[in-house]
Amino acid sequence: MSESKVLTCVSCPKGCEIKVEFEDEKIIEIIGNSCPQGEDYAREEIISPVRILPTTVKVINGILPIVPVKTTKAISLELVDQAMREISRVKVEAPIETGQILYQNLLDTGIDVVATRRIFAKER
């Protein structure tokens, strides 16, 4: 017996409603997406949902106490809480550049954590 599920695509703010028909983990039909990303999203969402994780990392000697970061690729939704605990232990010395890798191979996923803004060092 096949099942169907209506999803709201989160690939972009457009938020297409996508209807997926599937049996166990086999996708039978995907309709309602307006771009190929929507199809990928729907497939992943049924098999194993993943998300980019944006958060912050502590900064030493910076003009701000924290720096915003993100995972370089989407990680499994199930790993998010564990990833947050891991990232909360990281401390980085300023200056920090946008795109700088602050933590490598998060939870053995091969995915890194990078800074999403520039943080200048505090003037001494």
Partner: protein, 427 residues
């Protein structure tokens, strides 16, 4: 001695709107562009919006808020566009004099040929919505909480209730949950959410955070710090249903109950505002009721996507540049754009520029209630000229359509264009 300056273009506010308008005007050949920004850095609200989902329309890639800001900060720096940070604008006059101050220059008067207003918006507060109960610590707007959490590095609380389901409230529900808080509920007075559907999915559903539609906070308890809130259900008329009260213990109550364009300076200059958008009434070049004063971004109307802010600011920068270069010509007749059935507002409110190259005019609008399977009808004196179809329309999601020049050129004496958004099968 007061510092006196003269600039071709002064942009007030260095957020995404101000930066894109300045950048565009510069590219159009305006050299003396000055951005005035009250914060210590450019970027506006973007640096605190650390989540991803920005830039898909404009940059064709998914960026976080700080990354989107950085793109424009780098452009402004590369072109050596003049910026004054930590600068507060106090007054703007009808003859385009700006009074501002900072700790380096002191008090200054800047005479501008054109001004772009890009001051953004601010949040509605507890006072604005009249929450009953005590006034303890721990009740703050979602945007303030976002700044504390994402820029200043504070942990705000462990047990959180969020009133209002605007985008910042939804984003903060996830953010506080990720930081280890127990987010007990997002409470929304209306039968639908005020934010983007994608945010309901990825911020609430992903983390099993309950969304209580048709509910509101009817009491706040606590002396020094908030201790609990009473949440009650409301009926179709949004009246509280007695007997439905439930107490939720919490140490933090976030409010995400709407944004208001920040037009105090616009009002001082005498700029006419639209009652619906709470922003200036503008033509398609985003010129306000005062010649040479333009407006774009959230000061004009509240946007849900920064990509559309950029698009609008580019239009504004282009026309401000033409105004400065004296290549700005108006038609004697104004074409009003009327928000018709189910349409809350349309920006721009009227068309009056002479533009021979134009093929289309982008119109931004919002519906007044959620609709499915809609026709967006553009009509002249009751005759529908053009229909756009959409699967759905939601108040939280701005609609962006392009009005083709062709259909306007075929008609004469157009005084008013009406836009209605109607569900199919309903007349």
């Amino acid at each position: 001695m007061m510092l006196k300056l003269k600039r071709d273009l002064v942009v007030i506010g260095g957020g995404p709107a101000g930066m894109a308008a300045a950048d565009k005007a510069y590219d159009e050949g305006i050299e003396e562009v000055l951005i005035l920004e009250r914060d210590f850095e450019l970027g506006g609200i973007l640096p605190q919006c650390i989540h991803n989902g920005f830039g898909l329309h404009h940059f064709k890639e998914e960026l976080t808020g700080p990354e989107y800001a950085q793109r424009y900060i780098d452009l402004i720096a590369r072109k050596s566009i003049e910026v004054k940070l930590d600068t507060m604008v106090l007054d703007i006059t009808v003859d385009k004099k700006i009074y501002a101050m900072n700790s380096k220059d002191g008090f200054m008067e800047i005479e501008a040929t054109a001004i772009v207003l890009a001051m953004g918006c601010r949040e509605r507060t507890a006072g604005a919505i009249g929450i009953p109960g005590t006034r303890p610590a721990g009740v703050l707007t979602a945007g303030t909480a976002q700044r504390f959490t994402n820029i200043e590095g504070f942990v705000l609380g462990k047990e959180v209730v969020i009133l209002g389901s605007g985008d910042i409230g939804l984003i903060m529900a996830r953010r506080m949950r990720l930081e280890g808080a127990n987010v007990k509920a997002v409470v929304e007075l209306l039968p639908y959410t005020g934010g983007l559907t994608r945010n309901v999915v990825q911020c609430l559903e992903d983390y099993d955070i309950p969304l209580l539609l048709n509910h509101t906070v009817t009491n706040v308890k606590g002396e020094n710090r908030i201790e609990s809130v009473i949440i009650s259900e409301v009926d179709e008329k949004l009246k509280v249903i007695p007997g439905t009260e439930k107490e939720f213990s919490c140490d933090t109550l976030l409010l995400s109950v709407g944004l208001i364009p920040e037009n105090e300076l616009s009002k001082k200059a005498g700029v006419k505002l639209d009652q619906r958008t709470k922003g200036p009434i503008v033509n398609e070049g985003r010129e306000t009721s005062i010649s040479g004063i333009f407006a774009c971004g959230n000061v004009l109307h509240v946007h849900d996507l920064v990509d559309y802010v950029t698009e609008e600011a580019v239009i504004t920068g282009y026309w401000a540049a033409r105004f400065i270069k004296d290549k700005y010509q108006k038609n004697s007749e104004r074409r009003q754009i009327k928000a018709g059935k189910n349409v809350n507002y349309v920006v721009p409110q009227y068309l009056d520029l002479v533009d021979h190259d134009r093929k289309k005019t982008p119109l931004y609008m919002r519906v007044s209630k959620p609709l499915t399977n809609v026709d967006i009808k553009i009509s002249l004196k009751g005759n529908t000229l053009l229909t756009f179809k959409q699967d759905y329309a939601r108040p939280g999601e701005m609609i962006n359509i392009n009005l083709p020049e062709k259909i306007l050129n075929e008609e004469e004496n157009i005084e008013e264009i009406t836009i209605d958004i109607i569900e199919k099968g309903v007349h």
